[in-house]
């Protein structure tokens, strides 16, 4: 028999208490893993979303730049329209590498979400859209036959849902809710793992005609030849009073700053959970030490040294924390998807891709973190147990 077996047997004796303490540690670990995983995942997903947009710069109508950028990131309509003439005016700017006009409209579909209703996003685009977005490729079908054809290309997820719901695919016709025009599905985009996977794409002129906003755009996506020319580019557009230039890196930074502010609050909650778990571990082990006063005294009477008792109590703490760490990691791995689902519902803007990034490094960090906490938590109870005098126990048993 070894110290480990002896410690394990002691914990097994008080199953309910040990189980609840391990549960407390597991919850604290799961919370920590999920929060740190969310932080890393959100940052990566947002960066990926912004990179996939292909634009470094967005020109929109004047208004709150971040709200406008977030709406575009979410695939929603802009705040206001800008004249298409502005696009024609800036297209020849020497700093522009690639440029594309965009018209995004939201249409209410009463049949969406199993009859609950919801908005669909229709994007009016030109071929230059594909040049700006290297990850957007046609999976099947082809590009629009003309600039104002009544045709539609579906995002990957949208194509799947239409195939499932209406059994329609490339070559079939669909209609826009509330509009008379029918659109022929001419193509399906490959999966981009962004929110655009759920969109309808129309030729720009078709979208302007159907939604009766001819000569208008919601935004212009631009890639500059050199991003450090942004300020000079911005200054040249300054005289156009009705527009604003938004750098996507600034937007990304602002959103991350907001998320980081929320992170401090969330991390405080995580540390409270960990603190409560530590108190729980100390309490359980200390109670167990007090209840086993006689046993510890007997062990010392038959030769256990202070270090032996210290080691025994410490191993018990470590077993609790190790099991808590393992179960917490399992909860985080399997419960993470549920947390992601909740976060997506609560957050006003959640980027596409995986929001909760539970990496092996993160699991190891949390696991070893809880072991260190266990080592610290076990110090006091172990010290109390080791300090017991055997004679007091022997005499109390007389």
């Amino acid at each position: 028999m070894k110290f480990f077996v002896l410690a394990y047997k002691n914990l097994k004796r008080r199953k309910s208490r040990s189980f609840l303490t391990i549960g407390g540690v597991a919850v604290a670990v799961a919370v920590l893993v999920c929060l740190l995983g969310f932080n890393a995942g959100y940052q990566e997903a947002l960066t990926s979303d912004v990179d996939k947009m292909g634009y470094q710069v967005l020109v929109t109508a004047k208004g709150c730049p971040y709200e406008a950028a977030t709406r575009v990131l979410k695939g929603e309509a802009g705040l206001k329209f800008i004249d298409e003439d502005i696009y024609k005016q800036i297209i020849s700017d020497p700093d522009i590498d690639k440029i594309t006009p965009l018209l995004v409209q939201l249409v209410y579909d009463p049949e969406k979400s199993d009859g609950k209703g919801g908005f669909d996003s229709y994007s009016g685009i030109e071929r230059s859209y594909m040049e700006l977005k290297p990850n957007v490729k046609l999976k099947s079908g082809e590009w629009f036959s003309s600039d104002d054809a009544n045709e539609v290309i579906l995002g990957y997820d949208k194509a799947e849902s239409i195939q499932k719901k209406l059994q329609k695919t490339v070559g079939d016709k669909i209609s826009i809710p509330g509009e008379d025009t029918n659109l022929v599905i001419v193509g399906i985009f490959e999966k981009t793992a962004s929110l655009e996977d759920g969109d309808f794409f129309l030729p720009l002129k078709t979208a302007q005609r159907i939604f009766e906003i001819e000569g208008k755009l919601t935004s212009i996506g631009i890639k500059l030849k050199q991003i450090d020319r942004l300020q000079a580019f911005e200054e040249r557009l300054y005289p156009i009073a009705s527009i604003q230039v938004i750098s996507m890196s600034q937007v990304k930074g602002t959103i991350l700053n907001l998320v980081n502010s929320a992170k401090i609050l969330i991390m405080s909650v995580a540390f409270i959970a960990i603190f409560v778990a530590i108190i729980g571990v100390i309490n359980t082990i200390l109670m167990s030490v007090f209840e086993r006063t006689q046993e510890i005294g007997i062990m010392k009477a038959i030769g256990a040294s202070k270090l032996d008792i210290f080691k025994l109590i410490w191993i018990e703490t470590l077993i609790i924390c190790t099991l808590g760490g393992i179960f917490g990691s399992i909860i985080a791995i399997f419960g993470g998807n549920l947390v992601e689902l909740l976060v997506r519902k609560v957050m006003p803007y959640a980027p596409g891709g995986k929001l909760l990034l539970v990496t092996p490094e993160l699991l190891l960090f949390s696991f070893f973190g809880v072991i260190i906490i266990g080592i610290i938590s076990g110090l006091y109870p172990a010290f109390r147990a080791a300090s017991m005098r055997p004679i007091e126990v022997i005499r109390s048993g007389e």
Binding site: K9, M299, A301, I302, G303, S305, K306
Partner: protein
């Protein structure tokens, strides 16, 4: 001539409380040689257990000299006393003091966990067989009779092959 295993000179133990002082041992002199078998008799409260606790290095005397196998336990620190307890002394307590969560075999194995000198150990199963409990190896203390508990306690006291066996 054999060496002394235990030698006590004017050994005194007083238990002090807030209200009174109880003299448990009053300057006793004892000499016990290696290999000797000694029985201490006396009425309840005579100080037999107090004496064994002092000889067993569980307690320290109020005054006097004590020599256990050439060591003076009064001058030793807690760490060295625990080494003497585990390597040189076997103790059968009056109430046996077995660990309730461990079975007979595990109770006898327990001192081996704390022992540093493994050369002198006796196989716990062999010891339990010698005390006639080979059929009770996996039984817990609450499943044993008083006599069986005592025999497990004797086996536990002998497992490290002690030079002194104290049985209260």
């Amino acid at each position: 001539m054999k060496d002394f295993a235990i030698r006590a000179n004017k050994l005194k133990k007083i238990y002090s409380s807030e209200f009174e002082k109880i003299v448990a041992l009053k300057e006793i002199d004892v000499e016990i040689k290696e290999g000797e078998f000694v029985t201490i008799m006396g009425p309840s409260g005579a100080g037999k257990t107090t004496f064994l606790n002092l000889v067993g290095c569980l307690d320290k005397p109020t005054s006097g000299r004590l020599d256990i196998l050439g060591c003076n336990p009064i001058e030793l620190n807690e760490g060295k006393l625990s080494r003497i307890r585990v390597d040189k002394i076997g103790f059968v307590f009056e109430d046996f003091f077995l660990i309730s969560s461990l079975n007979s075999l595990e109770n006898v194995q327990l001192p081996l966990i704390f022992a540093r000198n493994f050369k002198n150990n006796t196989n716990p199963e062999t010891l339990l067989k010698r005390v006639g409990l080979d059929h009770r190896l996996t039984h817990f203390p609450n499943e044993l009779s008083g006599g069986e508990l005592q025999r497990v306690a004797v086996a536990r006291a002998l497992v490290n092959n002690p030079q002194i066996l104290l049985a209260d």
